[in-house]
């Protein structure tokens, strides 16, 4: 029952639940609790948060007795950073430069998260998709996008 023998999936999930539950239940102390008849805004989240902490502790406790569980697979940093970075860039650029630049940049950065990155291929892909997206969403569906940084 050594610490390093714990089931890492259960342990990590349990810690995650404890943290989330404690956060919600703890922060709920800022709101009025009310009573069972007139529940205040803190009532429901406190109950749920407490339940979540209990479940999390159970998972952590159990993880020491569940030997031989699979280890969680390694983090794939390249796709994780590539995709989420591209999405963050999209959110940042869409307000500042409009749809065209945001789409083109997102496409290229996103493809950095995949395998066999080839500049030429992905730039062409980016141009084609940007044109398609402007055609579909702006012209076709009439969604109110700003297209250019100056428009």
């Amino acid at each position: 029952m050594a610490f390093r023998d714990r089931d890492r999936k259960d342990f990590n999930a349990g810690i995650m639940y404890v943290v989330i539950g404690a956060f919600f239940a703890g922060f709920a102390t800022n709101y009025p609790m009310g009573s069972a008849v007139r529940m205040g805004p803190a009532y429901f989240p406190t109950i749920l948060g407490a339940m979540l902490v209990t479940l999390g502790l159970l998972l952590v406790f159990r993880s020491f007795f569940m030997r031989g569980g699979e280890r969680p697979s390694k983090t794939h940093w390249q796709p994780l950073l590539g995709i989420l970075g591209a999405v963050l860039l999209f959110a940042f650029l869409i307000d500042r430069t409009g749809l065209i630049l945001a789409s083109a940049v997102t496409m290229v950065v996103c493809s950095l998260g995949g395998w066999d990155f080839k500049w030429k291929e992905q730039v062409v892909n980016s141009v084609v998709m940007t044109a398609a997206v402007v055609g579909i969403f702006y012209h076709g569906l009439g969604l109110p996008f700003r297209l250019f940084p100056w428009s």
Partner: protein, 506 residues
């Protein structure tokens, strides 16, 4: 039961669904759903989340007709991929893969696709009829529900969703709780206090669960796909020679199609991972009934006919709880709730009485959409084959971009895109640790509803929690929920569950 209103109701439905505009939207929905659905590694939830924004500018009826079309287009597209390449786009297609892909390798992909289409159409027809038959009486029943009944029903819904879902029970309940908590972020309707908003004005409107679904199912899935190498290889696509099934194929498939439909309709109404369980149960049943079970896994046509019918029947009947009670039973239905809310419709029994044209139009269009699927898929199979050959490395940036635009267009705000990023990150790690995203989405939708009904029930009962046990319908539902939980503790059932959902996981 009163069936006399069925004919005029269906007539109304078909008048709505057969209008030129709605037919076109239904067609576009089915086409786009199939188009995205055939892409390997993208399930129906991600497909719907991705295509949701194209319905924003439409009036409610065509928007929902189109979304329903996207849903079954995506489900069917997943089967096509399963038969042609050994890469299931969604978990329910895993079953189809087992024999469908083998048939494909024997040069019989065409008949397998045709049987899958015929089975799905039959199942879709039965499913649609059942909605039309049982929708109105169930909605009547729902009108009699008070706050206590609604609360107990949601408890039952959530419990059965986790019992039937895959993976660890404790983790699934945990994800539901996380979802419920996330769902109540925002302004509290009773006190007007903005809970957990930290002074961010967008958060006081709550976290839009469409962006949560986009993040967890869309980005999360893509990152996980890129992490494994199976999609990196050039995909081998089976050739389609002729679509015509032989007489033997048809003879052997009739039984599985009928049985699969029956299994699927039952599982569809139950909350949880309905399509997966339905498909698996049907496969297991056909294997048990077969004279020569060893043929299964080596290209038995029954192994395609049964699960495909079950899958599609469940995909239809899972609309019943949503349309009559307003309770979503899974992640896809949760997204439909989101779509309805965006259109200004509160899902529930009142939809049928207040907007009969929408309700019956949608039902009629489901049947038309299922017909379109057959017409669309069989002759156009060559196009899907070409589409499947596009390498994933060119495909995924475009999918990401679509999701970004989708998240942005919910409120025309980049805030939702930031939220989707956050949940993509969370979802990626949560599923690494064995916590599935589907229960979270369900909790997200039900969070505010549960709190509201709990409050109301307790207010009416003057703070006496026994109200949940003294009202018979409420008590019945809680007893069923308790029985389900008790069942899972029994070793025998536990083993069975691990067999069914564990396999589905692989």
């Amino acid at each position: 039961m009163d069936f006399s209103a069925l004919i005029p109701n269906l007539t109304l439905g078909f008048t709505v669904a057969l209008s030129f505009q709605n037919l076109i939207y239904c067609f576009i929905g089915v086409l786009l759903g199939t188009l995205i659905g055939v892409l390997p590694g993208i399930g129906p939830v991600a497909t719907i989340a991705m295509l949701l924004p194209i319905t924003f500018n439409l009036p409610p009826t065509p928007a929902l007709i189109m979304l329903a079309g996207i849903y079954y287009g995506a489900s069917y597209g997943g089967s096509t991929t399963a038969i042609l390449v050994n890469l299931p786009g969604e978990s329910s297609s895993v079953v189809t893969c087992m024999d469908g892909y083998q048939l494909g390798r024997q040069g019989r992909a065409g008949p397998a696709l045709a049987i899958a289409a015929i089975g799905s159409f039959f199942a879709g027809t039965v499913g649609t009829l059942l909605i039309a038959l049982f929708g109105p009486p169930l909605a009547e029943l729902a009108f009699a529900f008070g706050a206590a009944e609604y609360f107990s029903m949601m408890v039952l819904g959530l419990i059965s969703a986790v019992v039937l879902a895959s993976g660890s029970l404790i983790k699934a309940i945990g994800m539901i709780l996380v979802g419920l908590l996330g769902g109540i972020v925002g302004t509290d309707v009773n006190s007007g206090i903005a809970r957990y908003s930290f002074g961010i004005s967008e958060l006081s409107d709550g976290i839009g669960f469409v962006s949560v679904a986009m993040g967890m199912f869309g980005f999360g899935e893509i990152i996980a796909n890129l992490g494994q190498t199976s999609l990196a290889r050039h995909v081998e696509v089976s050739k389609v020679h002729s679509l015509m099934p032989t007489k033997d194929d048809i003879r052997m498939s009739i039984g599985p199609i009928v049985r699969g439909t029956a299994i699927g309709t039952v599982f569809g109404i139950l909350p949880g991972a309905h399509t997966v369980i339905a498909a698996f149960s049907s496969y297991t049943m056909e294997k048990k009934l077969a004279k020569d079970p060893t043929r299964f896994g080596k290209g038995a046509i029954e192994g395609v006919a049964g699960p495909e019918s079950a899958n599609n029947a469940a995909a239809q009947t899972c609309f019943i709880p949503l349309l009559t009670l307003g309770i979503p039973t899974g992640a896809v239905m949760a997204l439909m709730v989101g779509a309805m809310t965006i259109q200004g419709i509160a899902p529930g029994p009142q939809v049928m009485t207040q907007k009969p044209d929408l309700f019956w139009g949608m039902i009629a269009s489901m049947w038309l959409g299922n017909g379109m699927l057959v017409i669309l898929n069989l002759p156009m199979i060559g196009m899907w084959v070409q589409f499947l050959k596009i390498p994933y490395r060119l495909m995924f940036p475009g999918i990401c971009l679509f999701i970004c635009i989708g998240a942005f267009s919910i409120n025309n705000a980049s805030f939702d895109v930031y939220m989707a990023t956050l949940f993509g990150f969370f979802g990626y790690y949560a599923s690494k640790w064995g916590c599935e995203p589907a229960p979270l989405i369900l909790g997200f939708v039900l969070g505010p509803l549960m709190e509201e009904n709990l409050r109301r029930a307790m207010l009416i009962s003057r703070g006496d929690p026994s109200v949940f046990f003294t009202r018979p319908i409420s008590l019945g539902m809680l007893l069923v929920a308790f029985a389900l939980l008790a069942m899972i503790v029994l070793p025998q059932f536990r083993k069975k569950r691990a067999e069914v959902v564990g396999e589905a996981d692989a």
